[in-house]
Symmetry: C2
DNA sequence: TTGTTTGATGTTAGCGCTAACATGAGGCAA
DNA sequence: TTGCCTCATGTTAGCGCTAACATCAAACAA
């Protein structure tokens, strides 16, 4: 009777049709409809055609919530990033999403906004949806978050870093070494007064340590470290706070470009090569934008989308190497 | 017995604990545990404490999949964007996520990659998870996608545009008018040879139409239109294909900055004000970057995050205005 | 013929939770 | 005392699907 109320082809009038309504209309049992949806090869062609017809007539859309409960498989992965806007993490989300979507997995996205309390909250929220894996940028900020993830007994992939004691799998690069590489390069260029600008999140801090340690090891005085507020790409103004500096490593390209903008205002930017720059600037991330501005931006290139794709792979394969170092590359252009 | 196997505080050894395991341990019925989780005020303080103790001991994490099936509420919204990487849509996702997360909603994110077939596929996948609303950038590319959404009987919010016949709610701005505004401005500036560079997606195309119509209405010859491949920020090279042009409207800031880079190479970029530019350039999106480069970028400013927040609001409130024009603003700086 | 295999479909039970409706104890007005 | 309310908790049924195990007919080997 309720199916009588439904006009074929024009859409449902009431509640969404269920498997068993389709089954009734096709004159089969519901398990057969379920098979048509999930393992069509097991169903005889004529039966299948009848069922498909009934599904179309009713506008049937499978209910994966019910399916997930019955099968204990949600076909979803939780993804936790500090922030998605204006960030290179969007590349990572795109990469993993491109890899997972064709396999029928959905991405449940959450942001921590660099806030430990919020991180724990969204982590709990994610886990209560029973994702089959969690991919996160960085590592849990708290012991509680770490415990939650360990207890979940699902693949956990930490990215954008190479933590010493990962929960499970890792896809990232060595942020400390990136700092070292930049300092080495600047020292080789004859720079003397180094500075670091960026956030004080874990990964940025590791870059700072590498940068500082290498500078000190090379006999330079301790570099200055300017901790910028997030969104404080008023890093334009940062220059004013770093007089006498002749080389800057910015924790990301946006900060680098902002800083260069400050240099330009101060007349300290040349359109020539690195050697002509009164102040060398190196970024991190290799934003496309870095190649479009003048002078072009030297940077540590990191493949955000490869990190995402690799993380997705680690999510699906339980065996094999669980710690993948995707490396980085110092790309030298005109800014430093 | 199975709870005997679980060592309190060290995490579960087997399957995740369920409501009724917690209930047994606390000596109450499962509905009471459910109430402690969802409506703690209804439970007597001592009982509540006992239940909370049991939850902690067992490391209980509620199963929202089961809860969603039982209550017919998933507390999730589906979000469909063309792409998340390097795009201003990330702002929109951040905005809506910031609004929805505190309310207990999760975001299920999908990308269409500007591909109609993929869009329909991910739309079906989203709907089968029974989100309580769908927020998408733009409108469905196909009739089939549109039908799916209409039949879903949930709030649907189309964003970043103001479609004439929306499925349900809308949060965006008038892309045609944006094109008109830019053309008007360039005409007033005395520019004669206009050009438009950008993609041929629906919204970009509407900007083009507004731009062209206004140029023609002002007595100029038809502007040139250069359709760039996505990721073809080889818009650097675009300049070579637009000789004699004295004003360009780029469908987004990234293209604009790429084009300016091409102009610089050709010696056609000045550090002075708009009036000094041999070729005026106007972007769209108001990336932070636009203020950091030289000359600073004139652009149509659009608040991606406000679009996201508004869309989230439209998702939650069924009554009230369903068509919200968030407008845009022509921000004039030095590029044109 | 008889047993055995294969292919197609069905039956049953239950995933972990919640809505809706009891139940029962205590308080309190008349 | 009676009736009626309020508060705290419980019972029952079922959300829509799938795993696991039947069932049964046809095909086929010995």
């Amino acid at each position: 009777m309720s199916s009588d109320l439904t006009e074929p082809g024009t859409g449902p009038t009431g509640a969404a049709p269920t498997l068993s309504e389709v089954a009734k209309r096709a004159g089969v049992s519901s398990i057969t409809v379920s098979r048509v949806v999930r393992m069509p090869d097991l169903v005889a062609p004529e039966t299948r055609a009848r069922v498909e017809r009934a599904m179309r007539d009713l506008g049937y859309v499978p209910n994966l919530v019910a399916g997930a409960l019955a099968s204990a498989r949600t076909n979803s992965v939780g993804v936790l990033v500090p922030t998605i806007a204006n960030s290179i993490f969007a590349d990572t989300v795109q990469g993993l999403s491109d890899k997972l979507e064709p396999l029928g997995f959905s991405v449940i996205l959450a942001q921590s906004r660099y806030d430990a309390v919020r991180e724990d909250r969204v982590l709990a929220a994610l886990l209560s949806r029973r994702p089959e894996a969690i991919i996160m940028v960085g590592s849990p900020a708290t012991e509680e978050g770490s415990r939650l993830l360990r207890n979940a007994r699902i693949p956990i992939v930490e990215t954008w870093d190479l933590p010493a004691n990962p929960i499970d799998a890792v896809a990232g690069f060595d942020n400390y070494k990136a700092g070292v590489a930049v300092a080495k390069h600047l020292v080789a260029q004859g720079r003397k007064q180094l500075a670091f600008i960026g956030g004080d999140d874990p990964r940025g801090t590791r870059r700072w340590f590498g940068f500082r340690d290498e500078a000190l090891a090379s006999g330079l005085s301790e570099p200055r470290r300017l901790i910028l507020d997030r969104k404080d790409s008023g890093s334009v103004a940062a220059h004013a706070r770093l007089p006498d500096v002749d080389a800057v490593f910015a924790a990301n390209d946006a900060h680098a470009i902002g800083f260069m903008s400050g240099l330009r205002k101060a007349g300290l930017l040349r359109d020539g090569p690195a050697s002509a720059q009164p102040v060398a600037v190196i970024g991190l991330g290799d934003l496309e934008m870095g190649q479009l501005i003048s002078p072009t931006l030297s940077t540590i290139s990191v493949h955000g989308d490869a990190i995402g794709r690799t993380a997705a792979t680690l999510t699906l394969e339980r065996g094999g190497e669980r710690r993948i170092d995707l490396g980085f590359e110092l790309v030298l252009r005109d800014s430093g």
